[in-house]
Symmetry: C2
Subunit: 306 residues, 2 copies
């Protein structure tokens, strides 16, 4: 199966306790698509960049087999730019700069070559833009995966509820799940979010792992404990990309396959945070990924006989 990935392709400038970067490649669609290439799953990006976006990055996408026909280049515009500084615990950060630039008037165009994508991954964007993508598909994809954030709950609630209602899988962090549902218990929160539309609710908890809810079933995983986390930027998007790519590869959307996909997404995210930006994700070979999934298995497997 093929992934259609909609989201930002951007510049990030990141500061963490371990160092800082100048403008480097970032954006939700970037991380999602790069993650999918590790599993050798075909994807195409729908996004917009400015004339300042390096041809070398576009070439890199193509070399990795990512369809970039849907990346519009606005010659006299500037690429979306975000700059942030992480606190010592890496669990919180301050945004220093947000320049929306060409993303302000983003009108997504889906290339004909990607209209037959079975899985649509809607990366974090204005929910109105996410809705317009779904409307522009000539037929509904078999699976729609949505990522969003608290900012849209505060500023575009009605449109957000509308796109959530058209979604099969939502990925959201624990605080956002609580805000979206008004429930503190994540079990209760997931039940309310189910009722808003998505059959599958994934709650991301960063260093504490992730939860997958479907009907009355729950699957829970810890995160791989890491000695060093250099840069958490893109971890959630990488997770979504690995998750979606595994489903595409297996061509199956059962709860059992979703569970495995959660592991794959987490393993991929654990790579992303080990270096700045997309660096580690661009280096990872499939064998390394398989070894990390094996680590996950060892980390969590037990037998009990009382």
């Amino acid at each position: 199966m093929k992934l259609l990935v909609v989201g930002s392709v951007a510049f990030d400038a990141i500061e963490t306790p371990f160092g800082k970067t100048d403008k480097i490649l970032g954006g939700a669609a970037t991380y999602i698509s790069l993650a999918s290439t590790i599993l050798k799953v075909k994807s195409g990006i729908v996004s917009v960049v400015g004339g300042d976006f390096p041809q070398s990055d576009l070439d890199m996408f193509e070399e990795r087999g990512i369809n970039i026909e849907g990346i519009e280049v606005v010659k006299d515009g500037k690429t979306f730019f975000w700059s942030g500084k992480y606190h010592n615990d890496l669990n919180s950060r301050d945004t220093l700069v947000t320049e929306v630039n060409v993303l302000e008037n983003f009108d997504p165009k889906i290339p004909d070559s990607m209209q037959d994508s079975e899985i649509l991954v809607l990366g974090n964007l204005h929910p109105g833009v996410q809705l317009s993508v779904l409307e522009k598909m000539t037929s509904r994809p078999k699976l729609v995966i949505l990522d969003t954030m608290n900012f849209w709950m505060d500023t575009a609630w009605d449109l957000l509820v509308k796109i959530i209602g058209k979604t099969d899988v939502i990925t959201i962090n624990d605080e956002e799940a609580r805000q979206l549902s008004g429930e503190y218990s994540l079990v209760k929160a997931a039940k309310k979010i189910h009722k808003m539309g998505p059959r599958f609710v994934i709650i991301k908890k960063g260093e504490h792992g992730a939860l997958l809810f479907h009907d009355d079933m729950i699957f829970a995983i810890p995160a791989l404990p890491l000695e060093e986390v250099y840069d958490p930027t893109g971890a959630g998007d990488t997770f979504a990309g690995g998750f979606a790519a595994y489903l595409a590869k297996k061509e199956d959307f059962s709860f059992e396959t979703m569970k495995s996909a959660l592991i794959v997404g987490s393993a991929m995210a654990s790579f992303t945070v080990e270096k700045f930006g997309t660096q580690k994700l661009q280096e990872v070979a499939e064998g390394e990924m398989i070894a990390r999934i094996k680590n996950f298995k060892e980390l969590t497997t037990f037998e009990v006989e009382v």
Copy 2:
């Protein structure tokens, strides 16, 4: 094997968003021993209570097979009393009242009938008292499990380091592990704590599960997601009790058995939080516990083939 449990036997008055209690039975040693009775493991408590402590609670301990010869009753003294109010998220609380009472001059006495205990569980107490217990044992127990808290890091550092140095297993929460080690990464924190003495380091993360470290091996589990948590009081002590009791039952201290013990401890703790105080723990039958462990297995089991 037999457990010797040292810790508070106390009164708690608890307020949570779901209700409040008058003075009810509490204390670290209470939860630890009650948890062990569910696995039908023999234990004895070393503690001190006042003349106000109900005979009915002492009878309850005895009926459940707990040796209470080591519980000193100070007729003209008052039992340790703690009162606290949990915030809406149940992850934080304010202490309203702490009356140390008879615990102030606690001089633990180990009954001859418990000198042959193979496992010593040192519940959270002043590290000086914990040390004195170890010195009063005629021979060192095969396994010493220590629980402690940040309060002793602030007020009795040298004694705390000394008792940690004599310990095989330490259980500690994530914030305390960071404070004790000066490391933010829990992997690094565990390595430093290993060097202080304990061969096994358990980091408790409440609703986020727990981690077990031994040499270069790590085992991680999520917590069982619960729809309602009524009262977190005693969850950590119940965890320690279930953990220790499983080791006693299996008569084995290998990493593999410790992993299983972590699951048993977590399953038991998930019962404790479902009702106020020790109520649920007193009701749980072995079969219910086995069913919950099965839930844990379902919650965390996966297969991935990339």
